[in-house]
Each structure stands twice: as C-alpha cells, then as structure tokens.
Assembly symmetry: C2
Homo-oligomer: 198 residues x 2
Amino acid sequence: MSYRIESLERLTEHFSCLPGVGRKTAQRMAFAVLNFEPEEAEDFAAAILEAKNSIHYCPICQAMTDEPTCSVCSDPERDRSVICVVEDTRSVISIERVRQYNGLYHVLHGVISPMKGMSPDKLRLRELVERINDEVKEVIVATNPTVEGETTAMYIAKLLSPYGIKVSRLAYGVPVGADLEYADEVTLHRAIMGRQSL
Amino acid sequence: MSYRIESLERLTEHFSCLPGVGRKTAQRMAFAVLNFEPEEAEDFAAAILEAKNSIHYCPICQAMTDEPTCSVCSDPERDRSVICVVEDTRSVISIERVRQYNGLYHVLHGVISPMKGMSPDKLRLRELVERINDEVKEVIVATNPTVEGETTAMYIAKLLSPYGIKVSRLAYGVPVGADLEYADEVTLHRAIMGRQSL
C-alpha cells in the first residue's frame, strides 16, 4: 500500500472545489492548515460555518448580509434617490471600494441569459420595481459590460420607462492606464462614440 | 457606512492566510463557500478540524498520518532494507507518486540551516539512528537539491558512517524534457560530472 492520509485527502478534496485551485495547490493549502495553530484551524472551520449560516440576502436590496438589513440600506447617510443595479454582491464590493458612490444598490443575482436558462423572471426585478417610489430619481444599471449585461440593462430601461425616472448605464471606454494599442475594436469604438468635450 | 459583511470578512481573512492566496482570491473563495450546498460547507469545516485533530507524526518514520503508524510503515510488502530520508511529508507524497520506490521513509521535518536556526538536534536524526539495524542496507538521502539539503545529506552520511551501511544521494542532472539552453551552470556541471555510460 502506498502512502496515503485519508483526512488530508478529504481536506485537499474540499480545497480543490474552490475556484482557481488545482490538485497541487489544494494539497499545499491542506498542509498549510496542518501547520496552523489549533485555535486558528478551529476559527477557520467556525468562520466557514458562520458565514454559511449567518449570511442571507438583504430584504431590501438583495445583497448578501449577516444583519437584518445590509449596512448600506440601514445607513441613514446614504442617498436614497439613486439605486445602482448590479449582477451580484461582488459588484457591490467593487463599487464600494471606489468610495465615490453614495446611493443605494439593488442586486439582481444574475443577468438575462437564454443560453444559461436565465430568464428575466429569475432575476430580482420584481423587488426592484417595488422599490421605485417618489424618492427615487435615478437607476444606474451597472451590470457587467458583456452581451448579457447589456441585454439586462436594456430590459431594465424598458421595464422602468413607465415610472418616468432616469435610467443610466456605466460609461464604456478605454480603461485608465491601459494602452490604446491593446484596446479591442469594440471598446475603442465605444470610447470614440462616448467622447467627452474638454 | 460602506457595505461590509463581518462574517464574510472573517472568512476572507482566513483564506488569505493560505499560501499563494491574496486578498482578492481569498474573497473569491469566500464567495464560493457561500454558494456551496449547506452540507458541503459543513463537510469542509469538519474536514479542517478532522485533519488538524487526527493527523500526527508516525512514531516510526515521523511522516504525517492519521493512523497509529503510517500506511508505509504498517505495510508488510514494503522493502525494509532501504530508508529514504526526506525533509517533509510532502516529499514522501512526491516520491510515492512515481510508484518506483518500495522502501521505507524517514521524515526529518526540516534541514540544517544556521540562518533559520535549524541545528541538527532539531531534526529527527536521533529517531533515524535508532532505526538503523541489521535489516537496513541502504539510506537514500532525498533532501531538496539546495545548499541546506546538501549540507544535511553530508551530515547524515557522516552520522551513519559508523554503521557501515550504504548512504546514497539522489542524482543531480538536467530534468527530463528540459532544454539545455535553460539549465543553469551548476546543474549542467553536475550533469556532466555524473554522466552515465550508454
């Protein structure tokens, strides 16, 4: 019989289920856990269970939270006249990192994609429409700059048109710090179309 | 207040303690865990605790195991006349993967490194010497091909010289499939020195 440690194999198996982790990296991680202090390993295991058990969707904006409502929705300082519509909670974190946006969010939990069987009724669009009231002045659609994201943005614009509020979309263009040489044709075309006067 | 999920932050923190995992990858992993099935997350947490609690060092070869003695030491089919000395348990796994070696192992848990404060008495050398008996014919030193690994190999050769058993070292040379152009000078020198007649 060759060398085999069952419990290490099992742990390696779990790590290899994580995104971007292959067999070898997973084994390296499992060994790292064995070298943790016992309390550290216990905290790690507890953090997995706690995150999994305590995190749910905010009943207002549908973003993940471990509070009754998320920290943005429950913050009286945030501007309630703007709602930024995003695909998932990760996008909320990305936009928050910029520290420029002070409005609210709405998480769709997906984009319209007939290929993946995602029809509009599977997104949290009903919840978005329910949030539209006199206070809301603008909805910024910040879905990803993909075909599906674009389709979803169009759908939302049409969906909200009866309410007479402004629906905007993130600007397309060349990323800051990039080289024009490496910009693809479509991006460059959109950057020229959306040029701004100085 | 900006968007923040405490339990997600804590889980991200734990993932970022793993080798080769930065802040962003850790966050991606934490989100992946949230998308696991509840049983899968529970199994993951349990696997961490189980591995951490059940794995100890084999009293014979000092390799990690979750059995009373490791699967190699307890296998009657293995050749007890050869002991392969390695730095850590990971090396055992690497050598086992080749499926060529059928002897026993001995894990030192480190190499001699004055820089890192690793003196010979901190390695499992006493345990190695205790294993030397009439049955053992050869000790293969398979420490890593580094200065520290080499020093340790020399030390072991000297340590075992009174017992009159053969002490060998892994062959140095160009790795199979590599290009000579990219081989460093020292490796190439060792490959020439250790040339084999055809």
